[in-house]
């Protein structure tokens, strides 16, 4: 008697979840970033992303190493510190058919790369932009970053006296149409948010609190697992219906808010603790500030707004990717040069 193991489930492309993994992580055991990687793999699998169409982009830092750990069949680009946003803008301009997945950290995005992040949001560059936020520089061994909470302490006792920068309120201010916060210790919520971001057009910013087990997981840290767990306040019970499953699901009616995403997927948001409208940018800003005042960590979809212009609209580009334009389109003929020359005579 022999049993053949059940075949691994496949997605609509016939790929297994294994087809979406990357090389083995070299981060510290227990690092929150690895939990995020797991959700990216799962979401890409469920969303039927064609690996070869994915551009995995990052800057420098622990978080920026992670694109090597998922989607081995996708092209990766680990660039320079704080500048992945401009690389991504270039990729988007060159080939609008690519799906951009950018992983950054709080130092990479909110300190050295703050300017590029802001301008990327302003241009609404199509990308899932994940900030793996632990409040410290891990790779340089534990200095404060700009998202470190005021009053937070380092392992050896140094206190951060500066106020924290918040990527979510910043993104709201800049007009970002998809702003979310999650926690690497809340995989269910994170998974839905990542899928929703993949279904979105334009810049989808996800700030994920991701504790650094080595340098910022101590008792007095505000970014420790314990602290995040104790103070996390999920806004919604999130549900996600992928674009290909619409017919088979009976969407819950009533109190759940439902948002149609550009690729046809539906996001359902069932408010948990308060009457929160994720389509109201100003209310979101207020809620985040108030929660912070109470020492709470609001997680969930903080803001979503579809239908905005993206980089491609602003640039008025043809549908064919710039990288694929045939020469007879990209290079004017000799008669055009003759015309230019005549004008200068």
């Amino acid at each position: 008697m022999s049993t053949t193991p059940a075949p691994a489930p496949t997605n609509q492309l016939g790929l297994t979840r294994q087809d979406y993994v990357g090389s083995k992580s070299t981060l510290c055991p227990g690092c929150g970033h690895d939990a995020i990687t797991t959700q990216i793999i799962q979401a890409a699998f469920e969303m039927n992303l064609e690996p070869h169409r994915v551009a995995k982009l990052s800057g420098i830092g622990c978080s920026s190493k992670t694109p090597a750990y998922f989607l081995a069949q996708a092209w990766g680009f680990n660039s320079v510190h704080g500048r992945a946003a401009s690389i991504c803008t270039g990729v988007a301009l060159a080939n609008r058919d690519l799906i951009n997945l950018l992983v950054s950290g709080d130092g990479d995005s909110m300190s050295i790369g703050l300017g590029q992040l802001m301008h990327m949001i302003r241009r609404n560059v199509p990308v899932v932009y994940i900030i793996e936020d632990n409040g410290v520089y891990g790779l340089t061994k534990g200095q404060f970053s700009a998202t470190a909470d005021e009053g937070s302490t380092l392992k050896h006792g140094d206190v951060n006296e500066l106020p924290a920068l918040d990527p979510c309120t910043l993104a709201l201010e800049l007009g970002c149409g998809f702003v979310a916060r999650s926690f690497s210790g809340n995989p269910k919520q994170l998974g839905v948010i990542v899928k929703a971001a993949m279904a979105y057009e334009g810049t989808a910013l996800i700030d994920v609190i991701s504790p650094c087990v080595t340098f910022n997981n101590h008792e007095s840290s505000t970014r420790s697992y314990k602290n995040a767990k104790d103070h996390e306040l999920p806004l919604q019970d999130l549900g996600f219906v992928p674009y290909y499953d619409l017919d088979e699901v009976d969407l819950a009616a009533g109190e759940a808010k439902e948002v149609g995403l550009p690729d046809g997927s539906r996001l359902t948001l069932r408010a948990i603790r308060e009457d929160f409208d994720p389509t109201d940018r100003f209310a979101a800003n207020k809620a985040i500030h108030e929660a912070r005042g109470r020492g709470e960590l609001l997680t969930g979809i903080l803001h979503i707004e579809t239908g905005g212009k993206t980089l491609h609209d602003y640039m008025h580009l043809v549908d064919t990717p710039m990288a694929h334009l045939p020469t007879d389109v990209s290079r004017p003929g000799p008669e055009i040069l003759a015309e230019c020359m005549a004008e200068l005579m």
């Binding site: 680990n78 401009s86 270039g90 301009l93 080939n95 300017g115």
Partner: protein, 606 residues
């Protein structure tokens, strides 16, 4: 010792027909640029070789500015220090302007300035501008602009310019704005008529019709670079405004509006994006180059400084991109509106660690066009950032030249494996060197088929693109990059040689060319010194460069920077030839004149 001869006497005794220089001193923001270009264009239309140089301040309005026009029957295009015909329109600088002209020069000025009290050896021409302007233009608001056209009329009459050609030049310059054309033509007529009736005539400086410029165009180097990019099929352009390079992309954008729109949808077949700074511009260039676009930026020295980290990434991770550097005077802010060749080192070695970049040094308008075009082929062939090293003198000044030739050869997109090629590729590794030329094969994101994906990183990597800190992997990588750089010797533009195989050489590059051409004539005619000339056009240096130096006792390296940056590079590459190299340097922020080269060579040769 060189034979001495009184050069100045030789020049003085030469006929001044189609051989003199005009300088116009004005205030910037007064609209004088149009008038000056009309004056220059008129001489050009009369078939006489002419160049124009605008010496302008880093300011929008109110500071002194000068425009120099040189007519030269012998076709010399370098800046000339001696001024034969001065037009003083700026009271603030008038005293200095009068002091600097040569003895016997013509001085046109606004009558109330009473400049004839300052010197007695000039041909004075006081013009009642206010009266003439009022007659030509009753509207007070426009009088300031029209005033400039009055001096054009006066100069035209005194220099024997064909009035019909002046009017044609105005029509050309004002692009069909009929009312403005009529107003300006009227002002020219007013000045011309006044000079006919009242100016004290002079016949020493004259323009006579010639045919040397027949069929030529007038263009600036930045426009030539823009055209080079356009006809290279550039698809992504990222930039940040900086003098003196901004007009590269602005001109390209103007052409793109005409020639890079989809005829059906009206949508763009080129992405031109103004970024938030030069760092982000470089990021877009690399991101787009990595994803398969032909990408470029144009900037100046401070921009290259900011881009340097990305340029190092492009070098190390092997990503194509074209970087046009229109050099200005540094360090720091320096003189943003003045010229230098101070970025030779910066471009050759931009970024930290061992970096060496392919650099092209255009020395003419044709080369600004051709080299920008070629830079795209080189960038993709060698999968690396490639620099077009221009400068303000080339980029922003007006030059007459032959029309450009259409680049007929197909675009060289380099070693790119598509899905089909990947099917049969054996042991492909992103950074493997199967051909032994240092150039690996790359793949583009989005290539279907499940093969060819790789991870690009600025950190240490092995020949398959995997992270590596192994000493042997690192050394293999940097050695291959050097090998790749040297492979470029076989395809970059060869130097241009002129001479007869004598013992004394001059080596120069870029915008110093016109001054060297003229200096060689002066050295021969006035000093009896025959020189050979090699104009370097690219880094890496080709074998012709070392052969030229090796075959000569002494080689004067002419450049427009303080430290002899090109000489330094030559000494690095050919240390055994170092003692033969002697620098001839000009770095006061003006374009190098021939006489500077002559004087320094004569002094060093003694």
């Amino acid at each position: 010792m060189l034979p001495t001869s009184a050069l100045s006497k030789t020049v003085e005794s030469r006929s001044r027909v189609n051989d003199f220089s005009i300088e116009v001193a004005t205030v910037n923001g007064s609209g004088s640029q149009t008038a000056n270009i009309v004056l220059m264009r008129t001489i050009f239309q009369m078939g006489v070789p002419v160049t124009g140089k605008n010496l302008f301040p880093s300011n929008i309005a109110g500071l002194p500015t000068w425009f120099q026009i040189r007519a030269s029957a012998r076709g010399y295009q370098a800046r000339k220090q001696e001024i034969d015909f001065m037009i003083c329109m700026n009271p603030e600088t008038a005293k200095d302007d009068v002091a600097k002209v040569r003895s016997g020069a013509v001085l046109v000025y606004d009558e109330p300035l009473k400049l004839d009290a300052l010197r007695s050896d000039l041909h004075f021409c006081p013009v009642p501008f206010q009266k003439l302007v009022a007659a030509a233009c009753p509207e007070p608001k426009l009088q300031k602009l029209v005033k400039n056209m009055v001096y054009v009329g006066v100069a035209a009459q005194m220099l024997g310019l064909d009035l019909a050609e002046v009017k044609l030049a105005i029509t050309k310059q004002l692009h069909g704005k009929q009312k403005a054309i009529e107003l300006n033509q009227g002002a020219v007529q007013e000045g011309y008529d006044w000079a006919t009736a009242s100016a004290s005539p002079q016949d020493r400086l004259r323009v006579e019709r010639d045919h040397q410029t027949d069929g030529q165009i007038i263009i600036d180097g930045n426009s030539a670079c823009a055209l080079g990019a356009l006809f290279a099929g550039v698809t992504v352009v990222a930039w940040y405004p900086i003098t003196p390079s901004s007009s590269v992309v602005e001109t390209l954008a103007d052409y793109a509006k005409l020639y890079r729109k989809d005829p059906v949808t009206g949508k763009n077949t080129i992405a031109i994006i103004q970024m938030e700074d030069e760092i982000a511009s470089a990021g877009v260039v690399l991101g787009a180059g990595w994803a398969g676009a032909r990408s470029m930026t144009a900037t100046s020295g401070p921009g290259i400084s900011l881009m340097s980290e990305f340029i190092g990434l492009g070098y190390f991770a092997e990503i194509p991109g074209v970087f046009v550097n229109v050099a200005r005077v540094g360090p720091s802010t320096g003189l943003p509106t003045r010229t230098s060749q101070g970025d030779v080192d910066l471009c050759a070695r931009a970024s930290h660690g061992d970096t060496l970049h392919i650099c092209l040094y255009p020395g003419s308008m044709e080369e600004c066009f051709e080299f920008t075009h070629q830079a795209f082929d080189l960038a993709e062939r060698f999968q690396t950032p490639v620099f077009v090293v221009s400068d303000l003198d080339l980029g922003m000044q007006n030059w007459a030249c032959r029309p450009f030739t259409y680049p007929d050869q197909p675009l060289d997109r380099g070693k790119v494996l598509d899905a089909k090629a990947l099917e049969t590729a054996v042991d492909w590794g992103r950074y493997r060197d199967p051909d032994g030329d240092g150039i690996p094969y790359r793949t583009l994101p989005g290539t279907p088929g499940g093969k060819g994906a790789y991870f690009t990183r600025g950190s240490g990597h092995n020949s398959h693109g995997l992270y590596s800190e192994k000493p042997e992997d690192l050394q293999e990588l940097v050695d291959r990059l050097k090998r790749k750089f040297l492979t470029a010797r076989t395809v970059v533009p060869e130097p241009v040689y002129a001479g007869s195989g004598g013992p004394v050489g001059i080596l120069a590059y870029g915008s110093s060319d016109p001054a060297v051409v003229e200096a060689r004539d002066i050295l021969r005619e006035a000093h009896g010194l025959e020189t050979d000339y090699l104009r370097v056009r690219a880094l890496p240096f080709t074998d012709a460069v070392s052969a030229f130096i090796r075959a000569r006792e002494v080689v004067y390296v002419v450049e427009q920077n303080r430290d002899g940056q090109m000489a330094g590079l030559l000494k690095d590459f050919y240390p055994e030839l170092a003692t033969r190299l002697h620098s001839v340097l000009h770095y006061d922020s003006t374009a190098i004149p021939a006489q500077t080269i002559v004087d320094q060579i004569v002094t060093q040769a003694k």
